[in-house]
């Protein structure tokens, strides 16, 4: 095994790239869960975002348009979930699973004509001055705009939840929907908005996979990234800052295992390629063993105004 072939600067830079899709999806799901809704369909929305983003970007040769399309597609796909769980009061777990399957089917249907194509290049944005720094410049400040956007989004969500009145209302709806309702807040509307935001974020995350990370469309390409995003929200104890930590940790694991595979490490390939999932399980166990769950109190509970 030749570990010297792994360049630490490029490693960190590629960790940021590989963490971004999970980070985007996870921060969206965080907002959804903070409003008291458990949407298990992240995987479905992500892969739909991936295919729609890719299709739009290829047709218009504009990655930017692709991302917009992906966000819209993710939000649109989450709409039936929102209506079903909020107005028809269906079981959130089952509906989320349905959303996942619809998304997987839909994506491979849309994606058929786009297989084997190449995504239009997405320019890197070198931040002036900072990107000229030795080592750190290449590592942290010469990425494409979505990487910065994802970090900014985490900060924005954190500030929104912590400092704004709307964020307080969102949290109130997630913690005690009956009290929030009694105070006159529209529980359903707030939750639907949160679900749509989560869908849009998952769509963006998916599009980042198909437009930047890979960059092409293959069937089932998210390969559980949406589920890892869900796990990261639990791992993060529903805190935006920790979501970022979690996402970069998992991005790191998946990049490292690829690098180890390439470097010909003396570890079975099956173990390496399963390692992101195994580590997710391990982390979940550690988090749940500590017992500090901090889950929103109304998470997964249906709301009906008559009670």
């Amino acid at each position: 095994m030749d570990l010297s072939s792994i360049n630490p600067v490029l490693l960190i830079a590629s960790v940021m790239v590989s963490a971004t899709p999970i980070l985007l999806a996870a921060i969206g799901e965080l907002v959804v869960e903070k409003s008291g809704v458990l949407n298990l369909g992240v995987e479905g929305m992500m892969i739909t975002g991936a295919v729609v983003g890719f299709a739009v970007a290829v047709s218009n040769t504009s990655p930017g348009m692709g991302f917009v399309g992906a966000a819209l597609a993710g939000a649109l796909l989450s709409l039936p979930f929102a209506l079903l769980t909020q107005y028809l009061m269906s079981n959130q777990v089952a509906t989320g699973l349905g959303l996942m399957m619809v998304g997987l089917g839909l994506s491979s249907l849309i994606g058929k004509p786009f297989e084997g194509m190449k995504a239009p290049p997405f320019p890197k944005v070198e931040i002036p001055l900072l990107s000229d720094l030795p080592i750190f410049g290449k590592m942290l400040f010469s990425h494409d705009i979505m990487v910065y956007f994802s970090v900014a989004l985490v900060v924005a969500v954190w500030a929104f939840l912590k400092y704004t009145r709307a964020g307080l209302i969102l949290r109130a709806v997630g913690e005690a929907h009956d009290s929030a309702h009694a105070l006159g807040y529209k529980v359903r509307h707030i939750r639907i908005l949160a679900i749509l935001f989560g869908g849009a974020c998952a769509g963006l995350g998916g599009a980042y996979l198909s437009l930047v990370r890979v960059p092409q469309w293959t069937e089932g390409m998210t390969a559980g990234a949406g589920w890892i995003a869900l796990a990261i929200v639990v791992f993060a104890s529903w805190r935006p800052g920790r979501v970022a930590v979690g996402a970069y940790l998992f991005g790191g694991v998946s990049v490292l295992q690829l690098n180890l595979q390439a470097a010909g490490a003396d570890v079975p390939v099956a173990l390496l390629s399963a390692s992101p999932y195994l580590i997710t399980i391990l982390v979940l166990v550690i988090i749940s063993a500590r017992g500090a769950h901090a889950a929103p109190a109304s998470l997964g509970r249906p709301f009906h105004a008559s009670r």
């Binding site: 619809v102 491979s108 249907l109 008559s306």
Partner: protein, 347 residues
């Protein structure tokens, strides 16, 4: 209760028809090819009718196991992984004894398959009862782990030594003692289907006649009441996940030693996920699951036929099946709530 699956299937046909129209296929024709031709078309029915049981067998077997857990509010969605591990363990146990022709080989493989699935399901069960880890995420993550183990063993440990280097195990079709053959020619009835029927009856007895079934339902509907009544939550978790893993593992073995024939990196056709739809479409009731499994098998075969005759993309069927679950959940509002027109209450 019975009506909403029927409404859901009907709505899926309508919306599915619209989808086919958008894809530029004749909608009525497509619906007919999917739901009617596999059973009654003169040209294809003789081939596709046996396929109905071949496909329904694993779906029903897995869905029965899942439904028991779902009743208790235990969301095992990693049946696909348990199915794969059952196939690997069962096939591995058989191949270890190659080329013995003993009649005990196949029962031993079935047992090993069931135990493999059971062991894989015990991981989320132990983690849930011991550490309170969410079983949804763990069981799903384990599916991806199982998938990479499958790819590894089918091109490594269990690869056919006479396969000229191609990935994939020995073909069980060429080894009578281990082959899960059709029991009655041209019916598609193999041991997996028999097991599925036994599971349907067993699950019915369990859920309606046995104290464990009552405890499971109680845990799902009123967890607090169940604890006061002395039901140990951990036992319910172990039981539900164990049964689901056992049945999924057995289904995997029956598939790999019969219709699939050999262990390859992609022998699993996503039955573990489709079985979730089957379980819900069957209202988590054994008899309902039997019917839903047959229906879902029909959409698989019909989908293949539509691929052949109308050039319909295979993914359309996957979408079709997903939609069915969605419409079912939507139609459920009519069973859970009563519609009242014209009267506006105070919310």
């Amino acid at each position: 209760m019975v009506l909403s699956p029927v409404i859901a299937v009907f709505l899926t046909m309508i919306v599915g028809g619209m989808m086919f129209a958008i894809l530029g296929k004749p909608p009525l024709e497509a619906i007919k090819v999917i739901f009617w031709d596999p059973l009654f078309n003169d040209q294809f029915a003789s081939y596709s009718r046996p396929q109905l049981l071949v496909k329904a067998g694993p779906l029903i077997l897995i869905a029965i196991g899942l439904s028991i857990g779902f009743k208790a509010g235990i969301w095992n969605i990693g049946a696909e992984g348990q199915y794969i591990m059952g196939a690997i363990c069962g096939a591995g146990a058989g191949l270890a004894l190659y080329p013995s022709e003993s009649f005990l080989i196949f029962p031993a493989m079935a047992l090993a398959g069931g135990l493999g699935g059971w062991a894989w399901a015990m991981v989320p069960a132990v983690l849930k009862t011991r550490f309170g880890t969410n079983e949804i995420l763990v069981s799903l993550m384990l599916t991806y782990v199982a998938q990479s183990i499958l790819i590894s063993v089918s091109s490594g440990l269990l690869r056919n030594p006479e396969g000229m280097g191609f990935p994939g195990s020995r073909n069980f079709k060429q080894w009578d003692a281990a082959f899960n053959a059709e029991l009655i020619a041209n019916t598609g009835l193999h041991w997996g289907v028999v097991a599925a029927l036994i599971a349907v009856i067993g699950a019915y007895m369990l859920m309606s006649r046995h104290i464990m079934g009552f405890n499971i339902r109680l845990t799902g509907e009123a967890p607090r009441a169940a604890r006061f009544a002395g039901v140990k939550p951990a036992r319910v978790v172990f039981f539900c996940l164990g049964i689901a893993g056992l049945l999924a593992g057995a289904a995997g073995l029956f598939e790999v030693s019969g219709p699939a024939g050999q262990l390859t990196g992609s022998f699993n056709a996503g039955y573990g996920f489709t079985a979730i739809i089957v379980a819900f479409l069957g209202r988590l009731h054994p008899v309902g699951i039997l019917l839903a499994g047959l229906l879902m098998a029909l959409t698989y075969i019909g989908g293949e036929l539509a691929q052949l005759m109308l050039n319909l993309p295979g993914a359309a069927i996957q979408l079709f099946q997903g939609m069915m679950l969605f419409f079912l959940l939507a139609a459920d509002v009519f069973t859970n709530f009563r519609l009242r027109f014209g009267k506006k209450g105070v919310a």
